[in-house]
C-alpha cells in the first residue's frame, strides 16, 4: 500500500512539477498574503454556470501566478446554496475562505429564514459578471417573435410548458413575471441544471425555457433553439436581432423589466480588511485578464467589475428587489 501511494505521488508530482513553478511569486504591495491554501467555495454543483466560472477563475489564477497559495475549489450545492452559506459563515479562518455566489446568495436566506444568514454580513470582494437570460423556443414551433409566443402560450393555457433550474429560482421568477403580466398560465417544471433544461427544449420535451446564453449556445448554433426576447437592459452583442423585453410592444403592453444573475466572489463574514483588500486586488487582476474577457464576451455575459461598498449597495438593492418578487409570488411570507 505504501509503495502504491509513493507511485501515485510520483506520477502526480511529475505532472504537477510543471504547474508548481509558481513558487513564491508575489502579488505584492499589500501587507497581507495568504499563508495556506485558500478555501474556494462554489455555491453550486459541478458543471453548472457558476462552477464553470469558478474553475476558470482558479485556472487563471494558476496560469498567471496571481496568488502565492492555490485556490482549492469545493462544491457545496446542498439546500440551494444553504450549505455553502453556512459553511462560509462558520469558517474557522475567514481570511482564507472565499465563495462564488449567484442569486441564491439573496434568495436562499430569504426563503429559508431558519438558516439565520444575513447576506450583507459577507465581505464584498468582486462582482465578476452578470449572466443574462433569454426566452428560448424550439425552431419547429414556428414562433418568430415575442408577440407570437404570447398568443400561442395564451391559447395553450397550462399546456404550455416552461422548464427551468429549480423551484422559486431565477428561471421561476421570470416565468412568474411573464404569467402575471401577460395573463398567461404556463406550467413551470423545475429541473436540476440549465443544461438539462436546454436539452429538453431541443428534444421538444418542453415548449420553452429562459436559459442563460452559455447553456443554450450549442443548440442555438445548430439552429434547434431560437431566442425570442432578452431580459436585459440593452441588446446583447451576440444576439443583435433579439429585442429586449423593454423595447417590444406585445400583448397590448410594453413593460420595462430586466433580470440578471450576479456572479460575485464574496469573503466569509469576519474577513479582515487587509485580506479583503488582497482578494479584491486578486480578482481585479482576474477580471482584467484576457481569458476572462474572452469568456465574458463569448458567453454573452454583462456587468462590469464592482467591489467594496459599491458592491454592498448593489446587494442591498437586489435583496430589496427579491424580497418584493418572492412575496408577490407567495414563495415567502
Amino acid at each position: 500500500m505504501k509503495s502504491i501511494k509513493k507511485l501515485v505521488f510520483g506520477a502526480v508530482s511529475m505532472v504537477l512539477a510543471a504547474t508548481s513553478v509558481s513558487g513564491i511569486a508575489v502579488a505584492g504591495g499589500h501587507g497581507w498574503e495568504p499563508t495556506k491554501p485558500i478555501d474556494f467555495i462554489i455555491m453550486a454543483g459541478k458543471g453548472g454556470g457558476a462552477d464553470k466560472m469558478a474553475r476558470l477563475m482558479q485556472a487563471i489564477v494558476e496560469k498567471e501566478n496571481l496568488s502565492n497559495r492555490p485556490l482549492v475549489p469545493t462544491n457545496k450545492s446542498g439546500g440551494s446554496g444553504a450549505e455553502a452559506l453556512i459553511a462560509a459563515s462558520k469558517a474557522s479562518d475567514p481570511d482564507h475562505t472565499i465563495m462564488v455566489t449567484l442569486n441564491s446568495f439573496y434568495t436562499t436566506p430569504l426563503r429559508q429564514p431558519g438558516l439565520k444568514i444575513d447576506s450583507l454580513s459577507f465581505a464584498p470582494v468582486a462582482r465578476m459578471a452578470e449572466d443574462t437570460f433569454l426566452l428560448w423556443v424550439h425552431k419547429d414551433s414556428g414562433l418568430k417573435t415575442f408577440a407570437e409566443f404570447l398568443a400561442k402560450a395564451k391559447a395553450d393555457g397550462n399546456k404550455w410548458v416552461m422548464g427551468g433550474t429549480g423551484k422559486n429560482s431565477e428561471d421561476n421568477i421570470i416565468t412568474d413575471f411573464l404569467n402575471e403580466n401577460y395573463g398567461l398560465s404556463m406550467k413551470y417544471i423545475p429541473y436540476k441544471g440549465g443544461g438539462a433544461v436546454a436539452k429538453q427544449v431541443a428534444g421538444k420535451q418542453l415548449n420553452s425555457s429562459v436559459n442563460n446564453p452559455s447553456e443554450a449556445l450549442g443548440f442555438y448554433e445548430s439552429g434547434d433553439m431560437v431566442p425570442l426576447v432578452a431580459f436585459t437592459k440593452s441588446r446583447l452583442p451576440m444576439f443583435p436581432n433579439v429585442p429586449t423585453l423593454s423595447e417590444v410592444f406585445a400583448g397590448g403592453k410594453q413593460i420595462s423589466w430586466s433580470y440578471f444573475m450576479q456572479r460575485s466572489v464574496v469573503g466569509a463574514p469576519g474577513m479582515s480588511e487587509k485580506a479583503q483588500a488582497y482578494y479584491t486586488d486578486l480578482f481585479a487582476k482576474v477580471y482584467a485578464s484576457k481569458d476572462w474577457q474572452t469568456y465574458k464576451s463569448k458567453k454573452s455575459l454583462m456587468g462590469d467589475l464592482m467591489s467594496g461598498d459599491e458592491l454592498k449597495a448593489y446587494w442591498a438593492d437586489q435583496i430589496a428587489n427579491h424580497t418584493k418578487i418572492l412575496k408577490a409570488s407567495g414563495a415567502i411570507k
Binding site: 505504501k2 501511494k5 501515485v8 502526480v12 495556506k36 491554501p37 478555501d39 502565492n68 497559495r69 482549492v72
Partner: protein, 176 residues
C-alpha cells in the same frame, strides 16, 4: 441472536415511523401548510414532496412487522439461532476497534487528520496487531508523509489540521 433479531426489528420499526412522521413535515416558513399535506397525490401535479419517502417508509414499517412475524414463527435463520449475537470476542473487538474509530474521529476534530492518522496507526498496529515498534513507526510515519504529499500537495485536497495547523505553514512555504 434470537433476542437481537426482535430488538433490531423493533428499532427499525420505530425508525420507519420516525421517517414517516418526518416526511410529512411542512416547510418551516409557511405555517399555513399542515403536517402530512404533502404525502398524497396533489391534483394535477402528481406526488407531493413527501409522497416518495412517506410511502416507502410505510413499506419499511410493514417489513419490520413482517420480520417480527417471522421471528415469532421462527422462520428466519437468526430467529432460530441460539448462538450469542456477539460473543465475548465480538464485544471486545467492537469496543477496541469501533471505539478506536470514534477516538480517531475525535482526534481528527482536535488535532487534524495527520496527527490522528499517526496515533490511530500506532494504536492499531502496535497495540492490537503487536507488531514491532520498528514496523509500526515506519508504516505509520510513511503513511502520514505519503498522505500529506498525495492529498495536500499533489491533489490540492487540504485535509483539516485542527490544532496542528501551525506545523504545516512552513511546509506550505516549501512545497506550494
Amino acid at each position: 441472536m434470537r433476542r437481537a433479531e426482535i430488538i433490531t426489528a423493533f428499532i427499525l420499526g420505530i425508525l420507519s415511523i420516525y421517517l414517516m412522521w418526518k416526511s410529512g413535515e411542512a416547510p418551516d416558513w409557511n405555517p399555513d401548510v399542515a403536517r402530512f399535506d404533502n404525502i398524497g397525490l396533489i391534483d394535477g401535479e402528481g406526488p407531493g414532496s413527501g409522497f416518495w419517502p412517506f410511502w416507502l417508509s410505510a413499506i419499511m414499517l410493514i417489513c419490520s412487522i413482517w420480520i417480527g412475524v417471522n421471528w415469532y414463527r421462527r422462520a428466519s435463520p437468526p430467529s432460530q439461532s441460539e448462538e450469542e449475537f456477539l460473543d465475548g470476542y465480538g464485544r471486545r473487538m467492537l469496543f477496541v476497534v469501533g471505539g478506536g474509530l470514534f477516538g480517531f474521529l475525535i482526534l481528527i476534530e482536535v488535532v487534524g487528520f495527520y496527527v490522528a492518522i499517526l496515533a490511530f496507526m500506532i494504536y492499531y498496529v502496535r497495540f492490537l496487531g503487536r507488531h514491532s515498534w520498528w514496523a509500526t513507526l515506519s508504516i505509520s510515519i510513511g503513511l502520514v508523509v505519503a498522505s500529506f504529499f498525495f492529498f495536500d500537495i499533489a491533489m490540492r485536497i487540504v485535509l483539516p489540521k485542527g490544532l496542528s495547523e501551525p506545523l504545516f505553514i512552513p511546509l506550505y512555504d516549501i512545497f506550494l
